[in-house]
Symmetry: C2
Subunit: 277 residues, 2 copies
């Protein structure tokens, strides 16, 4: 997805370098860089740097980038001291996201760190993989009220009007935590009665509601069906008010998705429903 | 999902405490703890600790845990110095995953860190949210060859025999990177010809193949249909050999999913297909 960024010539290069997927380096490095809103960064994620040769390729890239402007910043999650030393010799400012903390832990635990970092392929991982795979399949089958087949085994049922963020939140909970998550759309048909819609009513204790702001909902719906009743501010206002009334009447916990990321919504739902992965 | 763990009495408590979702604290903290395979840890993730009062609740928990055994380890991603100070006073060994690195960056950038850490709700985030939402919907619509409607806009088409990991990998790429990812199952019908299956053949440059080991595939299929031809080792061996031949003949890049996590597979695919989020 394209993102607005300063031109390469003026931006400071930021590298996220990992001997594994690079996701942690990128996540934590980006959170740290967010503290410097006045600086433009040009970001590069380089995963699977797990050989000295691989590190040397990265160093060549960095030195080419450095030749054109500011000193690059490099966030590293690599376990090998030899590979880290190569990266350090690049001339970039290296932020070692692992090493220092490992020394702290060694001191606290009175034990020497092994070389196991990044090795996650024991039996527990295969079980975790099965659980996630089942969870994603369950989520697809039970997306948007398509199937009511196995609601009795759901960990959570996310309910909300159309376009409040049910589907991405459901998928995130399934993939990240391996939870069985169904979702059910609240439509005009669901509001005349006081209780929850019939298919989910027997599972009240598993329900979690989403809401948003009318303006945000109208924008999102406009993307799908421009200039329709469905995307009108009046209709969005009405549906959200009815949904929130329904949640309150039935004591369904709910949250407003308009200012939250998918990760945050998922963490709130986990906490509210007292779920553990 | 239950995981094997040592009993609470003998395990050392490990807390992942965050003023946001806790995902980064848990990911990086777990990677660090993996270096100490001889120590059993009892893990707790506590997200959204963003007030001093919230921190005091955590401290009470930690002190209760510490009273029964070893000194707890606490991994923190909190931006407020005041909250961090509360946590430090708990008696736990606190590993501050942010603070020290922020000081390093301040020195490197010659600039003072703002208090923006964890605030991710600018316009870029809404765009990112839209992109992810569209990507997840696209992935659901195009899962398992269900729809061929919009393959021309796909960023990647994952192809593989049934149960090689197409669906979780597809969802992860969509959710994490906002990419448009379709997937297509290779069945016995697809092997008599030399080329790719007709629906995906026009998109050869977007295809990425998955394979696994016959034993692993047989185990996974056995979960779905025990004691069937489908899950037999002979059938699995045959399908994988044919799939790998197909990939090689058509120069489709592919990887073996048997020893890789969903995150690793996604990162390899991103790199191989030269995709950027």
């Amino acid at each position: 997805m394209p993102r607005p960024s300063a031109s390469r010539a003026t931006a400071r290069p930021a590298y996220f370098v990992s001997d594994s997927t690079g996701i942690t380096a990128e996540t934590l490095g980006s959170a740290l860089l967010a503290n410097f809103p006045g600086v433009a960064f040009h970001r590069h994620t380089i995963p699977f740097v797990d050989t000295v040769g691989g590190a040397r390729d990265v160093v060549r890239d960095i030195q080419a980038a450095a030749a054109t402007g500011a000193v690059p910043i490099l966030f590293a999650t690599v376990k090998s001291a030899e590979i880290l030393a190569e990266l350090m010799a690049s001339g970039a400012v290296v932020v070692d996201l692992l090493g220092g903390h490992l020394r702290e832990l060694e001191a606290a635990l009175g034990s020497t760190a092994s070389e196991q970092l990044g090795q996650y392929h024991g039996v527990g991982d295969i079980e975790r993989y099965f659980a996630r795979m089942r969870a994603v399949e369950y989520a697809i089958e039970h997306d948007d009220g398509q199937s009511m087949r196995a609601l009795d085994i759901a960990d959570v049922i996310v309910i909300a009007p159309s376009r409040c963020g049910k589907t991405p939140t459901t998928m995130y909970l399934a993939l990240q935590y391996g939870l069985l998550v169904a979702n059910y759309p609240l439509t005009d048909d669901d509001f005349p009665s006081d209780g929850l819609p019939a298919p989910v009513a027997p599972h009240l204790d598993k329900c979690f509601g989403l809401t948003t702001t009318p303006l945000r909902l109208s924008q999102v719906r406009h993307e799908r069906r421009p200039d329709s009743v469905y995307s009108s501010l009046a209709q969005c206002t009405l549906e959200l008010r009815r949904a929130e009334d329904l949640y309150r009447r039935n004591r369904v916990p709910f949250l407003n998705s308009s200012t939250k990321s998918v990760e945050e919504m998922s963490a709130v739902i986990m906490q509210s429903m007292r779920l553990r992965s």
